[in-house]
Amino acid sequence: MPTIILNKKVFEKLVGKKLSEEKLKERISYLGTDLESIEGNEIHVEVFPNRPDMLSEQGFSRAFSTFVGTKKGMAEFKVEKSGEKVVIDKSLKDIRPYTACAIIKNLRFDDEKIREIVQIQEKLHVTYGRNRKKAAIGIYPYERIKPPVYFFAGDPKKVRFIPLESDREMTGLEILSKHPAGREYAHLMEGLDKFAFFRDSEGKILSMTPITNSHDTGKITEETKEVFVECSGFDFDVLSICLNIIVTALSDMGGKIYSMDLEYPDRKLTTPNLSPKKMKLDLDYINRRIGLSIKESEAKRLLERMGYGYEKKNVLVPAYRADILHQADLAEDIAIAYGYENLKEDIPQVSTIGQEDELNVFARKAAEALTGLGLIETNTYNLIDKDVQTGMCNVDMGVVELIDPVSSEYNSLRKWIIPSLLSVLKDNKHNEYPQRIFNIGTIFKKDKKNRTESGVSEAVRLGVMLCSRTAGFTEIKQVLDFLMRMLDIDYSISETEHDSFIPGRVGRVSVKGKDVAYIGEIHPNVLENFDLDMPVSCFELNLSDLHEAIQR
């Protein structure tokens, strides 16, 4: 979850009220955010990713003010016409087709405010902008720009400018390999032979989006009083909301918002559009969903606490809210305004009958029988090194492999349990013998009958392993025999071959004609691979198949 840092003084001034630390913590939690810490003049707050509008000091304070009651209802923002144009070239169609822009005047920047602007931009990039892929934001000193502004697709081998914090001109391609932001975001330009650029009417390059601004025309300083703001990406609605979040925050810093006219190849639009979206209130649905019976007037009051407007059965959703898709979202905000702490629990008198999964019940019976024999149950991972379950066990077979596992030694899904148990013995050489263990776990293999949607079938298997000087075929067969007797199952054993076992000491166990297990003594080759110096006998029993077989 993203964390933002609030300046305590600025925050208190914006909210218009000082709260004790305890009260602050409590109110912030019940608003659906989390106070992480207060360090001197800094308040660290965690914001859930559904509320990008709260990722700035201004946006957070705006939501908090109505929630604690120092302000009420929807915040109003005035937008004046600048009459300036942004011309969008049709060549951008497959590169980065959309932008939404605005101009903010009357700003007074200091170090603190510049930092705050950088924070908003970064947090939005990471969350709502999906690391600049979905939306990228550029903010430029308007004084250095001659409108109209042009948004176009340029040849990255030819277009040159000085990128941010650099001292020399580079081509677009050079920036990808030499500039830090270029290297970090180069993957976003993969497969493109033209890049998206902004320039002004004099041909000065403002930025190569979504990588970097120009050092000359794209760097905010303390002298900056007016800024040009653009958001670029692939979905105009997303960009509009993103722009709205930024301009309303800048407005709360004291700026005045001016619109710009966007000339798309096929239409003309004006941004920002800060008029709220209307949504009809379905109070009945909301009451049913939360379990309340509030009246319209109460609903209006609660909505206003959450920064909404309300008129004639319609909820006015602020233009910077990105998360209101359905009445259910209004229901949650009404519940938050009502206070989760004020909602009384209400247990419904609904009678249902509990029921455990039958295969799990069956597996538990097997486990009970084995613990009765003094065996210890282990719990091992479904993920395992491919070599451990194939080469080290003397077998060569296909297994389901993972793509780019972070823990690289766990790179496949296990196809059988015995390798997991051998690994357990390997890790327990320092402990006393005899070691008698079992493990119930899932195995994965290609679904040849195409019964599952994934194409992989899973089964629950039981592995039992004995390791001691006397651990031979007789001992392990005694365990299998006891287990089968307790489960009241008749079985037969036939000779078979398996490279993990000593030839002539391995058998296939079947029940009602279905093969359900291997049983035998592990081959000394395999023991050596697992660094074991004690005989091992074991069986691996498919509980899923066995359970199915005895149902018939």
Partner: protein
Amino acid sequence: MKSDVEGIADTLHRYESAVLSATEESTTLDEISTRTGLSKIECMRGMQWLQNKKAVDISTDEDVFIAVDSNGKEYLKKGFPEKRVLKLIKKGPASFKDIKKGLKLSDEEFNVCLGLLKSKAAAEIKDGKLEITAHGEKLAEKETLEESFLKQLSKKNARVEDLSPEEKFSYQALKKRKSIIKEETSKTKRAELTDFGKKLKKASLKAGEREDRLTQEMIRTGSWKKKEFRKYDIRINVPEINGGKRHFVNQTIESIKRIWLDMGFKEMTGPMLDTSFWNFDALFTAQDHPVRELQDTFYVKNPEKGRLPGKKLVDSVKSMHEDGGQTGSKGWGYSWDTEKAKSNVLRTHTTVLSAKTLANLKKECLPAKYFSVAKCFRNEALDWKHLFELYQVEGIVVDPEANFRNLIAYLKRFFRKLGFEKIRVQPAYFPYTEPSAEVHVFHPIKKEWVELAGAGIFRPEVVVPLLGEDIPVLAWGMGLERSISEYFGISDIRQLYSNDLKQLKEIKFWR
């Protein structure tokens, strides 16, 4: 009331009473062992316990004994070398070389013999050969003092101070020669009854008439009726034993399942590997959501893609993402990619089981409650705080009449059964629930609020495609590993699944 002496006498271990009965004023360990028929180790244990009870004093005497050494043992068998030389030259003079070779003597041994025989005037050298004297012929037939002394020593070690003057002479002579005799220090343990010990002995002899063990014989013959049984020291420490056991995490899971079953929930099961369609899309997680990226989620190489369920369901989910379909929702407003939904993924949460359960649920079965306790996966590096496989506990209530206040009530009951009396809910965010809540419990030991679970009502965009209409589905879930580690006092989370057999044998049961 019994006196202290009688009380102690009643609970004496059988080693103790045996030792006590065999001990006079002062008795050696050897004697006690002979008299009691117990091994020396058993006698020592009895002596030590009695010493702890101040009934005997144990003392140790150190004695120096003379014993036969390695050469001495050899000479006892073959005879002393000088005697053998004498016997040889009795048959006629012999050269030094022939003697050494014939009797297999080393130069050193031969030189000692030569010196000895000459000093006793038993032989003389003539023409480079050794010849026996008349005195020598007599000596050859007679046992020397040294020989008889050595024979005696071989039967019983002797103390220097106990030797007779002749023996002392032989001792001095043999001591000079190589490895014939040696000195050994031996310790003799001895027990001496204290005054209390004497009283205890008397009382113990009386108690000794009581039986130590109840035998099968006594029960069969009924002879136990006339017997009294010795009292045991029931506070005595006994050796540890361990038995077969379930893995402690599985044992915990069983007891948590019991809570759900008690509350009338049915268990859900399903595959760990499934398509992204079920894991993400059916749960209204947008296709560009960061959780779907490779660094957080396990995708598989083979088969990389699976197949989607029926067209009706797929189309419905697609419309939820694109424009909200008929639900009144706006949807996420992007173009939904069928191929992306086919990617196989190791389930990132067990909520996928809830989605599949809803898809198979018939309306006439409502209201219904389901739960699962099962594994889910995160593409993480294994370290003391992180695992790539985790157990998740999850429950849903599908009830046309259910609401958020009901959810709070269910949560309270569930967490009370888990051992938390006080809970509170706070707003939270999950892509598939609205309203959403975090569940905090008041930790009875830490005395503070701890976040433990997530909860909410499934969004209509999730429920409508699966159930056909917007029926409230209450849901909550939590991870297990943190609570389990905390209960068992495990600070490195990897130890939950390290399967150290010593740990597994010794670890206590879940509460």
